[in-house]
Structure formats: C-alpha cells, structure tokens
C-alpha cells in the first residue's frame, strides 16, 4: 500500500517544523527553537530514541499542564563557581541549555562551574550539551536522573533510573570525545525491538517480574532492565541520583515521575552540569595536541579479528551526523504519521520538511 507521506526529512526543515509547532502550541519562540534543536541533534547523531519522536510526548505534557513553557528559570545561592538552578518545570532542554550557559560562564570566571538543577523535565541527550561546551573549548560533565527502570542489586523491581552521564572533551584534528551513556546494560528500547521481532535476549540484560534472570524479551519488559555491570552500574546510577536528585532538591528514586505514565505531577528531574576550563591546567592548544596524540595512539592499536576500526566515544555519531545532514533523517513511518497529525493540529505542514519533495508521494513503506 502506498502512503502519502515521506519518511526522509531534511534536518534543518524538520527542525523548523518542530520549532514552529511548539511555538504555535504556546512555547516562546526562542525556547521552541532550543527544544527543536535538541531533538534534531539527537536524530543527526543517530540517537533516534531521543529525537523528534519525543515531540508528541513533550507537547502532550505541555498541553496537559505538566510542563510550563513560560516558567522563569531561577538561580539560588549563586557565587563565582557554584549555583543551584530551579527550572520551575519549564522544558528540560530549555532549562538544560540555560544551565549549561551558566556553568560555562562560571568556568571561564573561576576555572570551574558547577550547576545543580531541580524542577526540570526530560532534557534530551547529554551529548547535546557536551557538544556545545566543546565548541567553547571546555570540558563538560553532565548527569541527570530519570524515572524508575532498574532494580538495586538484589532487588526485583525498578527503583533507580537508567540515570545517564555524558562527558565532552575537545580535541584538535581528531573528533572530540563525547561519551553519552545510560547506566543500564542496554536501552529498554532494544528489548522492545527484540520482543517485536519475537527474539530472545541475551542473559544479563534483564530480570523478570519476580527478579529471576530471563532471556524472554516479553518477560523482561514486565520486569526490569539491569544496571551496567551489576553492582558497579547500580552504584554509578545511585551516585548520579544522589548528585542530580538528593543534593539539588529535585526528585530521586520514586519521586522522579515517569513522563509517559504520571499525569498528576511534574517530573521534577534533576541535573548536574560541571564545566572545567582547560586553560587553568595547560594552554588549550597543548591540551588539544595531547588529546590528538591520545586518540591517535588508541586508534592505531592492533585490532581484534573482524574489527575494522577502533572508535573513540562520539566518533561514530560524528560521522553519522555528516551522513544525515547530506542524505536526510529517515523516520519510522509511525513517527512521521504522528508528526504529520501534530502538524495538522497546529496548521504546519510536515511535507514541507521532506528531504526530496518529488518523492513525497512515492515512498512505499512496505519495502522498508
């Protein structure tokens, strides 16, 4: 069956589509642009789970009063290097972007900037902020807590989130180092995909609802995804929850509310932005030379059988960004349809963002 909708989109037009929709829905223009930009950056890097697929849930939460697009973002107890930010339930990426700017300013002033954030929402990918810090020759560490998905070691049901950490470090001629990872063994999304295909999953990914190890993808989905490396991932995830949640005054554990399931409370996510000015330690050019040397030496290591190249964190995503800027962002049909519907509600045409407008009527989804 032929559908009258494209699946391949030109990134800048798709970004504008999302931004326009958000603006029409009531988000101030500058903030709409930030949210759209953070989603598109994720798609460009190939982290589709955090891309424009989130437009619908972000909008729905705002429409139902669960996100306040007009909220003032406030600073509490500020000095030259530390501040607490209260996001007052604005969009996570708006709060995150402002917190990043503050952290970078403080690092320029005092060598380090620590921004703790409470009252926030899902803030997209940590890599989004890492990339911006790198553009200013800064090192950035970003932590965020998240709603419950993983058990503590020895537990049987979700208690902590797959609390992500991201790090950005500039290099010279090499790609910058961008690590952006959840503290789970795998993303829950991967288990969903295996369940849909009727596949089993490797041992160690998840436990069933009784806390027993399972290789059944469906049992895993009603159970819990496991922390990276057992007690070590549990410890790292808990540490992130403590810094981003307990310390900032945001939610922690069960008090970080699920974006998809809880429609009574704001999420109250917490974040940490820690920026370091490299110049305090050595001239930036010398540091970049050292980074290049480090990366070159790793990439020149002998490779295991079947391995074509040794990558550093963020390198594959950097290449994918170039590729997607050239060839377009391919969306699953379901996502394109959902965006199309949203666009119709707000009078914005998704088809204007199609990569090759000639192909709009011709894409046959059955061959995907």
């Amino acid at each position: 069956m032929l559908m009258s909708i494209a699946t391949n989109y030109y990134w800048q037009k798709l970004e504008k589509f999302c931004s326009d929709v958000l603006e029409k829905a009531g988000v101030p223009k500058r903030n709409a642009e930030i949210v759209a930009n953070s989603l598109i950056e994720a798609d460009l890097r190939g982290v589709d789970s955090h891309g424009v697929v989130r437009t619908a849930i972000y909008l729905e939460r705002m429409e139902k009063g669960m996100i306040n697009p007009d909220a003032d973002i406030c600073m509490v107890n500020e000095n030259d290097s530390v501040v607490l930010v209260d996001g007052n339930n604005n969009f996570g990426s708006v709060i995150g972007s402002q917190s990043l700017t503050i952290a970078l300013d403080k690092a320029k002033k005092s060598g380090i900037g620590l921004v703790g954030v409470k009252g926030s929402n899902h803030f997209g990918t940590g890599a989004y902020y890492a990339k911006k810090a790198i553009a200013e020759d800064m090192i950035l560490l970003v932590l965020s807590n998240a709603s419950q998905t993983m058990p503590p070691t020895g537990g049987i049901r979700p208690f902590i989130g797959t609390n992500p950490l991201a790090v950005g470090v500039p290099a010279g001629n090499q790609n910058p180092f961008i690590l952006d990872m959840a503290t789970s063994v795998v993303a829950r999304g991967k288990i969903i995909v295996e369940a849909q295909k009727g596949n089993s999953i490797p041992a160690g990914w998840a436990i069933d609802k009784d806390g027993k190890p399972t290789t059944d993808a469906n049992e895993a989905l009603v159970g819990s995804v496991l922390p990276l490396g057992g007690p070590k991932g549990y410890g790292i995830s808990m540490f992130i929850d403590i810094l981003a949640g307990v310390l900032t005054g945001a939610g922690f554990g069960r008090y970080v509310h699920n974006m998809y399931e809880n429609w009574q409370d704001p999420q109250n996510v917490g974040h940490i932005f820690l920026a370091i000015d490299i110049n305090r330690f050595m001239p930036i050019d010398y540091f970049k030379d050292r980074m290049d040397q480090y990366i070159n030496e790793i990439k020149a290591e002998p490779k295991a059988p079947g391995v074509e190249e040794i990558f550093i964190p963020g390198e594959i995503e950097a290449r994918r960004t170039i590729e997607r800027k050239e060839n377009g962002i391919l969306l699953p049909r379901k996502v394109a349809e959902e965006l199309d519907e949203i666009g119709k509600r707000y009078g914005i045409k998704l088809s204007d963002a199609a990569f090759d407008t000639n192909s709009v009527m011709e894409v046959n989804y059955d061959i995907q």
Copy 2:
C-alpha cells in the same frame, strides 16, 4: 607444617609496624604514618589487594629511587576553587592526602574544590579519601588513572588502565555512600585466583592475547581484562584517563608506568579530587535526612530469591571494618612472611603486631 609466624594482626599495631618500617627506610614520620594508614584502611574494609600487601612494592620502589619520599608537593596556578598539584613523585597516598585537604579547603571557601594532580604514584584506594571527606560533611569524587591493563573496545592488548573512580557522600543514621570501583569487569586479581585454583572464568571477563574471548584463566592472564560493560566501561575509563592524565599533565595510556614492571621511570600517575560543599545546595542536616530516606527506601525494596539484604555501596565494607577491628586482620601466610622479612631488614618486629600474642607459635597455615 607449623610456621613460627602469626597471620592475624591487630590493626593499630600492624599500622604502626608499617609506619615504623617506612620511617626507618627514610620516609618522613608524618608521611610514613599516612602511607601506613591508607594501607590499613584498605585491609579493614576488606580490600586486601590494596592493603599492607603493597608495603613491599612501595618500599622497593622507594629504595630503588623510583619514589622520592622527600619531594615537595607543589601547587600551580591556584585560585579559590581550582588548582593543579605537582606531586613531584612522592608517595601516592601522601600526595593524595594533601590534595584532598586542598580540595576540601577550596570547597569550604567557594562551594567546590577541583584539584588535578600530576607526578604521582599508586595512591591506594579512592575510598580512603572519600571516607575523610565524609567526615567533614563533604561530597567527594576521586578519579585516578593507572597503568595499562584493558584494551579499547575492538583492541586486543592493554591500552588503558582499570582507571578507578570513587565517590563519598555523607548520610545521617545510615552508613555513608562510598562507591569505589575499577572500570574493569573484574579485578585482575580474581583471574589470578581462578588460575591458581585451576578453574575456568566466566565468559566476558577477559580476552586472550589474540583478542579472542576466553574462559581459560591462564590465557586471560596473558591477554587482557575487559572493561566493564564493553564500550561503556571503555568510555568511562578513557574519560578518567583524560581528566586525570591528559588534562593534568600526568602520564596517560602507555605513559602511566607499571609499578611492578618499570624500574626506569617514575609512574607519573594522575588524579582528580573534586569536593562539593553540600551547604551550598541545602542545609547539611536536611541533606542527611534525604540521604537516609533514599537509603531506607532502597533497602526496603522487595528482594530477589535468595537475597537476604539489599546493600548500598560501602555498606559491606563498613561492617567488615567493625569486624576486623574486633577480630583482627587476617593476612595470607605469604604476605605475613614478606612483612616479617621487611621488618627484619629494618629492625622492626612484626610479631609485636600479632592479634593474640599467645597464638603466634600456634597458627597452622595448612588449614587456612
């Protein structure tokens, strides 16, 4: 066969033994006490691999001019929140302790203290410093790089160290949160133990010298131990190397020299000490209440079959410390013999540190 040496030691006397030996060997008294204290604290917590077993190698490196016990520890480019410390090749735990003090002072002054360290040596356990920060109601993050033991993802031979991270966070009535972990799947020591027993090892722990997965403990020992969770552990370990090594001017990758194998160069290990003053975010008592609530809620979670208790990081080690303070530190015969030899060289009697002097002549090692 009965040996004339005890294996159970009273912690304070064993600490004094180590300190006295170091002092006789030429370490200034205050520094000898610090090194001995850091070793005993590891033994008390049950981290025997980092306890008094290291006395011999620390001494040997110093005796051979690879560690300078008289070196001045210098500060470079200091401000209220950031400083670079050059350890000038003193003992790692001496440099570490001084760097911790500086980080805590800065955190008290400006809310955060970041100390980057170069020119250091093996600094014991990160938990040692975390515990001291907790005693001052501070949050501490400690990173250190280490000599090469793990391949990058896709590589076949050691390139990065099992670069450890440690975190300390105070709580109220509950035990403090102390996470102290290497970024490898398991300690190399565990593989040595399995090899000695003639056991195989679980898949995923290590690769052989050709980069192929192996369950043969002996092949693993001539191969590489693997990073925690594959590319994620590789990324975290690399991030630690970048901060502790590339940024500080210390060694990184192959330029962090192996303590046991390289007798030409100082190790040039690098560390990061990051202290956060909780009071900048909320009153310390309120924070401790939140920590207690968090820990209580985790510990009250339903447990998997066969699990008696859910632990938080550092809790088992806290209990073991109480137990070992009461019942003594049990050393492997080989370690006791080695310490005894060292004591004889410097005219210090190990037997004075035995837990129950009546049992000195009676311990039968064959039943251990």
